[in-house]
Symmetry: C2
Subunit: 377 residues, 2 copies
């Protein structure tokens, strides 16, 4: 610059990372099966099993089973809940582990719901600059969502999942028998994600899911296993094509853009899955309004969601204006227009000229929120 | 297990990461040059320039120069010092950035010494699950060490650098004119790392470094540029061959195993570089004692370190017993034997049957610490 001598230059080449793979296993016998897998793959390592209070019994089963095989480790408990998925909670568990001498030969096992998988996975991502982890999701939502895809994070006062990493687990083990101990509302909370996966997959999956709906809602294990596996396969197919969310992975945001705004506007009164379910229904209306999908898609999507017993419209008392305001702060806003991942038909996400997240005119967004009769601020 | 049905399995394939590269540029005109680089590569992004109090003027120069080019951003200051390289400090800067609306279109610039590069690099690694960063090291030690290699981390009460990530910067810019404003002890602190690089490189580099020593110590810019570039080249060669520390990168630990124990035993009274210099000298004695190197290497290494004005033996009042005790807690202990990266001769690190970090009998370690005349605990 300005006639000064050119700087010397040293080029640093970062070697490519080879492809790798891991398995998601679905079936009963989870705790013993995790212990066996750890014995086969991490003998001599120390197990740090991170669990919420309400899943600490499951964690103890895993630990007991691992100890029978001669492995050493401990359970690290925390209160659970979105409000504890924080940097401070992560630090407290890290300090407990460090005080107990857990080093780089640690393997972290996340035994709990989405909060535990996100928190423990992120903890594993930065502990000694990264140690391996195994996801043992115990809720339907965590099985089909949080445990898959390698996205781990904690919340901040300024938003959810803003501090985190991409850190894939070495193994994921889903045991549907844990779901029978969950309250029904908790199962329902996972069903929006299951519905989303079916909508991204095909007409056939949507039909099959409607067919299974009664068995699912009565907690039949075979039905649960089938839908868990199907939803995971769909997410895995998407993630495998794009594991850094650069483009195609955005189709997984179906329903989530409006859904997150609803969840936040409800002050987290609505469960994640309920908010996403409403989000899927409203974004389907948006796809139709924008001309990407036929009107019939609305009825098809709503019928699926209704069969699964999840909501399709904003609850009384939730101000659509406040949902709209939160949408304006979405991470995906570009030049004032919120971008959405929309569906043309089951199995066919919409690809616009700007990619899989399509900017939509605000008037259409206001329309599906029922705001067009109100004066614009 | 136990006759139960085999679980269903879904395989997740993680796509390979392609090779990439970045440049380290060395020369005067740093602040304007960074602004220019950001303008060329991150126009439209928001700059978060993280700086210690004592480097905040440099940070302001960068910001001013960037603003002249139409870029937007701010300086995020913190106190600096190893004691502030913490999870809490990281969180505070993150919160400031989040409160100011910095999103995934943020590029972090670390403008300061090793503490700033480590902290800001780690912050960049987890902010919105990873944003790009540029290293602008302002101390000799940071230029030749912290800024190169992608290892970023913070300290914990249980040890240094225990929570962190591998996150390479997009660019590194070293301006030796900042070094003239540093106290001489600070320059010396970087010289152990420069000596280590020369020892790993070749006899020729060692001879050249001794030749340049007087010019370096009087702060001549051309001499500084030459040794900075040479040390960086050596580190880059090593890191390029192994960017996840799986094996060969361990040669960079030369002097650091004993050095870290000394640094910790001194209660951080000794500067990092001083402790490493003594570590290099003592580990050379260890290489000779273990039969890997000829006795003449001791004299050769000590002459180099002395020319550079850095210490070669434990200071009065530092208890070798406490150094020895800390060695037993080294991350690299396996089956009671501490593992060291040792030199056979300049340019020739020792490769043992177990790799580049070689387990050494404790009696030899006690020997070089002058402990063999004392009764074993």
């Amino acid at each position: 610059m300005n006639g000064e001598p050119l700087p010397h230059r040293v080029r640093v080449r970062i070697s490519p990372r080879p492809a790798r793979s891991y398995d998601v296993a679905i079936g009963v016998g989870g705790p013993a099966s995790v212990a066996e897998w750890l014995y086969n793959n991490y003998d001599g390592w120390r197990l740090a099993i991170v669990a919420e209070d309400r899943t600490s019994e499951i964690a103890s089963l895993i630990l007991g089973s691992a100890k029978e095989r001669g492995l050493a480790g401990a359970v690290f408990r925390f209160g659970g809940g979105e409000e504890r998925k924080t940097r401070t909670q992560k630090k407290e568990i890290e300090n407990e582990m460090l005080a107990s001498g857990y080093g780089r030969d640690t393997v972290v096992i996340a035994a709990g719901g989405g909060v535990t998988c996100d928190l423990a996975g992120f903890l594993a991502a930065t502990y000694y600059r990264g140690v391996p982890w195994v996801a043992y999701p115990t809720t339907l939502l965590a099985m089909v969502d949080a445990a898959i895809g390698g996205k781990v994070a904690v919340n901040t006062p300024h938003g959810k999942n803003l501090i985190g990493a991409y850190h894939h687990p070495e193994w994921v083990r889903c045991d549907p028998s844990h779901l029978s101990t969950l309250p029904e509302r908790e199962i329902r909370s996972g069903l929006a994600e299951v519905a989303k996966a079916a909508l991204l997959e095909s007409e056939v999956r949507v039909a099959r899911l409607r067919e299974l709906a009664p068995s699912i809602l009565s907690g039949e294990r075979a039905a649960l296993e089938e839908i868990i596996e199907a939803a995971i396969r769909t997410k895995v197919e998407v993630v495998t094509q794009d594991d850094r969310e650069e483009d195609y992975r955005q189709v997984l945001n179906l329903g989530h853009t409006i859904g997150h705004a609803i969840e936040s506007a409800s002050g987290f009164e609505l469960r994640h899955g309920e908010a996403m379910s409403i989000g899927i229904a409203l974004e389907t209306r948006l796809a139709v309004a924008a001309g990407f999908a036929p009107t019939a898609l609305i009825r098809q999507v709503e019928a699926l969601l209704e069969d699964l017993g999840v909501p399709i419209s904003l609850p009384e008392g939730l101000d659509p204006q406040s949902v709209h305001k939160r949408l304006q702060h979405d991470k995906k806003v570009r030049e004032g227009r919120v971008r959405f991942s929309l569906l043309e038909s089951p199995g066919k996400p919409h690809l616009g000229p700007e990619g899989w997240a399509v900017p939509v005119e605000d008037s259409l967004v206001r329309g599906v929120l029922g705001l067009n009769r109100q004066p614009v601020e």
